[in-house]
């Protein structure tokens, strides 16, 4: 009895002490990896999560460099303040501010904890590593406590998570691996990629919440609906540090792989409370890239794409059993991307990325089940180009331009409702500038300004209800702390 009590107190003390240390100690970006390798953030990141050449090598080698830590855990907190001019509700003439923590006034302001994350994993053996993340969030500050508004909820659920088993091909005379081949499994298409032009890791890196009305069209691979309810299983080869080839099959996070969508509805048998957007069968994802480093420079060009068949479970709100052999919506996405980095860091660092994603989709199922689209076939094109400069690893500026275009569809793109498209066109374009200041290497302040020149087909009065694209221009402040 006494021994038990001692053990209990000891366990409590260790837990409390560890938590305290964890809280007190300032640390590093994805500090699990920093603790494991002993590196500073800038070894792997231009500014998190943008990877340097060495950061890419670390990831492609399955996070196995360094020594496994006894407590491989870290955390992140992200908070955001938004200001957007009034998106007007035509019926009342009042601003309609959306999202958690929104405050209606002459303009929309809100302050919220966007997300918190717990990271775990890293090196498991010489050949095996993982990156685990649980996230929760959308905690509006001063607006009545935890909220489940929007895509997230305060209760943590599985976020980007992956496992890698790597094998290095080399002979006794090899001076470096001739190739790294790997088996990997993840719960978000493109999260396993190492270049920052793919959807999972492209700018903006802070998960800014919607503030006003925004573009309604996005390609599937850029916005894989259903969160992490999908699991990609496949492998890649990284040959001579130049050629990268990857193939994966994406499927629903059910049965044996349901843990990859932990807390968000993935469990044995069916998707439970997932209302829709469950992948049907096995869906191919592919990626080829060529990379070249010279001097302080590094460049990459590549393509990636996915064929996705997604169960249509509308009307929204009904459950979507995987065994339901219902109709699917089909998405065929293909993209080209490129990246350039200059990483001398004495004192400047530059990076540039661009991507163009083209999608052909067939939404016959959506059209027939709920009349959610006017025509079955659509194209959607998304283009982004961005440039980043960092001075002294402390002051950063990023400028980006986005353009979305595609087939008009009066129903799909919300004609007649506030924020929708009066013409049915999804065409949108906007500029973004973000200023960054790193107080410490693990604490970043950002100020973002987004200027919309066109939203859902128009500049002024794009929804036919009096809303202008420029009225959605936003200023957001963000704090991102990892420890």
């Amino acid at each position: 009895m006494t021994l038990k009590r001692v053990a209990r107190w000891l366990a409590f003390g260790i837990a409390a002490g560890t938590a305290w240390i964890g809280f007190m100690a300032p640390a590093q970006a994805i500090p699990v990896f920093a603790r494991q390798t002993g590196h500073n953030c800038q070894a792997c990141h231009i500014s998190y999560p943008e990877l340097t050449s060495y950061g890419r090598e670390f990831k492609l080698n399955g996070y196995t460099f360094g020594e496994a830590q006894p407590l491989p855990v870290a955390a992140a907190i992200m908070a955001e303040w938004d200001h957007v001019q009034s998106p007007t509700d035509a019926s009342t003439g009042n601003p309609t501010c959306s999202g958690a923590g929104a405050v209606n006034s002459s303009s929309c302001n809100k302050l919220q904890l966007v997300q918190y994350s717990v990271f775990f994993g890293g090196r498991i053996s010489d050949n095996f590593g993982m990156f685990g993340q649980l996230s929760g969030g959308e905690f509006p500050v001063g607006a009545g406590g935890p909220s489940s508004v929007g895509p997230g909820a305060f209760t943590p659920t599985a976020d980007n998570t992956e496992f890698r088993y790597v094998h290095r091909i080399m002979s006794d005379d090899s001076l470096e691996p001739d190739a790294v081949i790997a088996f990997n499994m993840n719960n978000n298409p493109t999260m396993e990629d190492v270049w920052n032009s793919v959807p999972a890791w492209k700018f903006p890196w802070f998960p800014y919440m919607p503030a006003g009305f925004g573009p309604l069209a996005a390609t599937y691979i850029d916005n894989p609906t259903g969160g992490h309810n999908k699991v990609g299983i496949g492998g890649y080869a990284w040959v001579h540090k130049s050629f990268y080839a990857e193939f994966e099959l994406e499927r629903a996070a059910t049965g044996m792989v349901s843990f990859m969508n932990w807390g968000a509805g993935g469990y044995e048998g069916n998707m439970g409370d997932q209302p829709s957007d469950v992948l049907a069968g096995y869906n191919p994802y592919y990626r080829f890239a060529y990379s070249h480093d010279w001097g302080y420079n590094s460049m990459e060009v590549g393509i990636f794409g996915m064929h996705a068949n997604v169960y249509n479970c509308n009307p929204a709100g009904t459950t979507c059993p995987v065994l339901n052999l219902g109709a699917t919506n089909q998405y065929r996405d293909i993209a080209v991307d490129a990246q350039y980095q200059y990483n001398r860091s004495e004192p400047w660092v530059f990076s540039a990325n661009a991507s163009y994603i083209h999608e052909n989709n067939n939404l016959t199922a959506l059209m027939q089940s709920s009349g959610g689209a006017a025509t079955p076939d659509h194209t959607v094109n998304e283009f982004q180009i961005k440039g980043t400069a960092y001075y002294d690893r402390r002051y950063g500026v990023t400028l980006a331009y986005n353009n979305t275009s595609g087939t008009a569809d009066s129903i799909l793109y919300g004609s007649g409702s506030p924020g929708g498209s009066a013409t049915g066109s999804p065409d949108s374009s906007w500029w973004t500038v973000e200023l960054n200041y790193l107080l410490m290497q693990d604490l970043r302040f950002s100020l973002l300004y987004q200027n919309f020149t066109k939203i859902n087909g128009g500049g002024s009065n794009f929804d036919g209800l009096g809303n202008n694209a420029s009225g959605q221009n936003r200023i957001s402040g963000a704090i991102w702390w990892v420890f």
């Binding site: 240390i21 640390a27 002993g38 990483n343 410490m440």
Partner: protein
């Protein structure tokens, strides 16, 4: 019925057996410790080779010939120099407890769990203002403190042996700077400015020896930046700091261009 007297021999025997067991065990463990040490030394070359090919090569390039001047070329460096530097980085990682003002409680946690406050807390401490952090030294610490943290001495030695035996890089022209002037400084020094000939330590062909690094073929930009940091005391090399006190950035550039051009 047994008596106490009858039981005593049993107790004594048990005690003796226990002591014997403990002694045997401790001798055995001592042997194991010795064996482990010997084994570590024996396996060091293999471990070092694995590390060099899989990890070091990620920055320092195949065989220690890096493509980026952030990372010095290691191929053909004197082994003693490499070991000296590795120990320097290793000691930095071990010293961090004192410089981060780790409390006794934190040390206790470390002793139990092996988990230690990350190095960045040192950067944030009063001893080391991030603002004033010398960037290039940071650059080395970004990577190398962590790499050297978990290396034991035999492995360091084996790594040094590995890189010292790699074929050195060929000289390369193309760096900005006046090679002729760099050559004059390197070979003859500059008596007026207190510079003795670099070759008197680094060797006439800049191949280095013992703890003195090889410069031939080294990235010019790396050499230039290091000279600046040695001059300002950021990188502490006592023997050199006074000698190059009166040189300027132009001299550094010329010297760097010259040594990079050497085979």
């Amino acid at each position: 019925m047994r008596t106490n007297m009858m039981r005593k021999p049993g107790r004594v025997a048990a005690l003796l057996a226990g002591v014997a067991l403990a002694v045997t065990a401790s001798v055995a463990f001592a042997d194991d410790a010795e064996n482990a040490k010997a084994l570590t030394a024996k396996l060091a070359p293999e471990r070092a080779h694995h590390l060099a090919v899989t990890w070091c090569s990620a920055c320092h390039g195949p065989g220690g010939i890096s493509g980026q001047a952030t990372f010095p070329i290691l191929a053909g460096q004197p082994a003693e120099y490499i070991v000296t530097e590795l120990k320097y980085f290793h000691n930095l990682s071990q010293d961090e407890r004192s410089v981060t003002h780790e409390t006794q409680f934190e040390q206790w946690i470390y002793n139990i769990t092996g988990w230690r406050k990350p190095y960045s807390s040192y950067l944030h401490s009063d001893d080391y203002k991030y603002d004033n952090a010398p960037r290039n030294e940071e650059r080395a610490w970004d990577f190398m403190k962590g790499v050297a943290r978990d290396l034991d001495e035999p492995t360091m030695q084996a790594l040094a042996d590995y890189f010292s035996k790699q074929a050195p890089v060929a000289g390369r022209l193309g760096a900005s700077g006046d090679i002729a002037h760099g050559k004059a400084l390197f070979q003859d020094g500059d008596a007026n400015r207190g510079l003795i000939a670099c070759q008197s330590c680094h060797g006439p062909e800049a191949k280095g020896q013992g703890p003195i690094p090889r410069l031939a073929g080294q990235h010019a930009d790396y050499v230039k930046i290091q000279l600046g940091f040695i001059q300002s005391g950021v990188r502490s090399v006592d023997q050199m700091q006074a000698l190059i006190a009166n040189l300027n950035q132009k001299d550094f550039e010329d010297l760097a261009a010259y040594v990079q051009s050497l085979n």
